[in-house]
Symmetry: C2
Subunit: 395 residues, 2 copies
């Protein structure tokens, strides 16, 4: 019997064990974060010719596309030891959540010694956190935790049930209090998973609420791709290779049906259902959606956040949502609001468009707070923006 228990413990999945990297009896650790916050990455490949690492902690490289030059994560070479274990030690890294992949003889692969991965569109990369400072907001601490629920809401406008991620703060289930709501929208390629996986929303909110810096609130993370019922793999289309959504993502359909989401939230949760207790914010395409939702329903939100936002619709798009933009912005301004927050990185490819939009608002006399950060169109900035935006809400 004892033997059986031992076997049980070791063999629950023989497949797992066969795939673990045991090498020369030594367990490989990767990534290994040193005391000084440099990081050692290791990969076992005795017969490989080259092993490289690519990640967002390496100096960026320029890559050329038909649309221009862009920054892409850099690469570095690992060096092989006599046992066939390749390694690379990074520079001392600043606190942050980082992602990386290995490239073995030209083939991009995940780190078999690190089971923590995030999906961004069709790419899956490994992640790790260097703690301290801002990045401590991304960690799970011994504090009260909110609940993250994956639910389905009925969208009569879109003719389907759709999956939605909802964060309720610690204490929500056991109390009677009503809460304000932040609607938090993802970018192109994202879905109802993105803000909570890549964006660390639950950890950021738990930490900031626990520190007394953010008012307890519900955070609603819908899927902004109206042709999807759910994130890839989570809906009725089953498993398929995700692509950037283009169809109907920025044609007004989502904005026109956004009240289905608000109605669902306000009839299913204990919320303060008024303008003073509603915020809408989003990144990139989600910033675009937030801009247009907040002016199309111009007396609905007291708080608006545009994170690295796309601004104006494609000229070929025709939707009542995009008629008379200037007029509805004016109405929104006249109705009043408490915060219109615009943030962008100084190397973002949308920088100039946001600059033009700010000039437009200045000309109209429509007030906003502007936050310019370093860097480009990346999740690092969106996590920072969320952690700066949330403390300003519902005060």
């Amino acid at each position: 019997m004892k033997k059986a228990i031992v076997i049980l413990l070791v063999m629950t999945s023989i497949a797992s064990f066969a795939q673990q990297s045991l090498f020369g009896g030594q367990e490989i650790k990767s990534p290994e974060i040193n005391a000084n916050n440099s990081v050692i990455f290791r990969f076992v490949a005795p017969n490989a010719d080259t092993v490289k690492i690519t990640g967002d902690f390496l100096p960026t490289e320029k890559i050329k596309t038909q649309w221009g030059e862009f920054d892409a994560p850099g690469k570095a070479n690992l060096i092989k030891n006599e046992k066939g274990v390749w390694s690379f030690t990074s520079q001392v890294l600043q606190p942050e959540l980082y992602s990386y992949s290995f490239i073995v003889d030209g083939i991009t692969t995940t780190d078999p010694n690190n089971p923590f991965l995030v999906r961004d569109v069709a790419s899956v990369t490994n992640i790790f956190i260097i703690g301290g400072g801002q990045a401590d907001l991304y960690k799970v601490k011994d504090i009260p935790h909110g609940t993250v629920a994956k639910r389905w809401y009925d969208s009569p406008g879109l003719g389907m049930d759709r999956r939605i991620t909802i964060y309720t703060p610690a204490g929500y289930e056991s109390g009677n209090e009503k809460y304000p709501v932040l609607y938090l929208l993802h970018g192109a390629g994202g879905d109802e998973e993105a803000w909570n996986t890549l964006g660390r929303t639950a950890q950021i909110m738990d930490n900031l609420i626990s520190q007394g810096k953010v008012k307890p609130m519900i955070v609603v993370m819908p899927n902004g791709n109206v042709i999807q019922d759910a994130a890839p793999g989570e809906g009725h289309d089953g498993f398929y290779k995700p692509q950037f959504m283009v169809a109907k993502t920025m044609d007004g359909t989502y904005e026109a049906n956004f009240m289905d989401i608000i109605k669902f939230v306000e009839t299913n949760y204990r919320v303060k259902a008024d303008k003073a207790n509603r915020a809408v914010a989003g990144l990139s395409m989600g910033g675009f959606h937030s801009l247009h939702i907040s002016r199309y329903y111009p007396n609905t939100f007291d708080y608006v956040g545009l994170f690295s936002a796309a601004i104006l619709p494609n000229q070929n798009v025709s939707s009542p949502v995009y008629y008379d933009i200037d007029k509805t912005l004016k109405t929104q301004m006249d109705n009043g609001y408490k915060l219109y927050w615009i943030a962008i990185g100084n190397t973002d490819f949308l920088y100039k468009n946001v600059e033009e939009y700010r000039a437009k608002l200045d000309k109209m006399g429509m007030k906003y707070i502007y936050r310019e950060s370093d860097g480009g169109h990346i999740w690092r900035n969106w996590r920072i923006y969320l952690s700066e935006f949330a403390p300003q809400l519902f005060k």
Copy 2:
């Protein structure tokens, strides 16, 4: 502006695109499920010497360990075409959820064209579903969906808040009805994620409830490793390489503190809080836990499910939970119950132990239903057992 929108759509994550497998202008599709349910797997590696696939749809291979010989997923060779794309076409596959990895020049890697992965202990493998029959229960259909929440409950006995996965059936939030509860426990190496990822619990329950075969019920999936507050990566230990838990997994601590979980559920959810409306079931180590929880609290559960269960504690373990096992089993029998369901695969390495346990129950006159399936100690069986056990509950 139009240009910026195009860029936005294409470039939200330049890193993603750089990693996508575009080859010779052709998008690589892998896996590709043919009309006859054979499956083509593809991998781009012009310079590799060998590319193999390993997966649970291939004939198993024997592997030798110090504890004996076991079945492990088999391997097959991919063949390279003139463009450097390797491919393998499987035989016609039966409906099932399958997992696989590639092995490129000896290095195990995930499929870069398939972002759907599951983690089992420290291993991450790709998955796909061949629909039809039993496997249709694992798909997301256009039916009412329950909610899956990741919550944290207070365990005074274990001295910490702990993460728990809770499935509430469609209609729970909008109604006033009280529901019965199934406590569903994972095996060694698992955690509060396992039943819902590898086990497809939400999909199985949604489908069977929608078909009228299962009574709407709440399914509670706790973490059975008492030294963890949460699954690897989801708790206060941050990201670390998971191992099989050995410390305190089967020493009585979990069983002794199980009432913390029941108390949390019965004070936080609209449940029918009586024996007739409680079930406990688990796989492997979770079957062991279910056996001991149900007899240690011998008048608490009317339904007990042991799936490929480990049976008796290690002789060196000392815990009041394991004193007088025969006596508490007798008490449980005398108190009565509606279903004691024992299932195991005919090649499971625990088969003999379960056989001995059945002989013991026979001798005592303790009634049970026995279900023997093909196969071994694998998730395929546990998904089948759940879909056969759930319809028998709360009738």
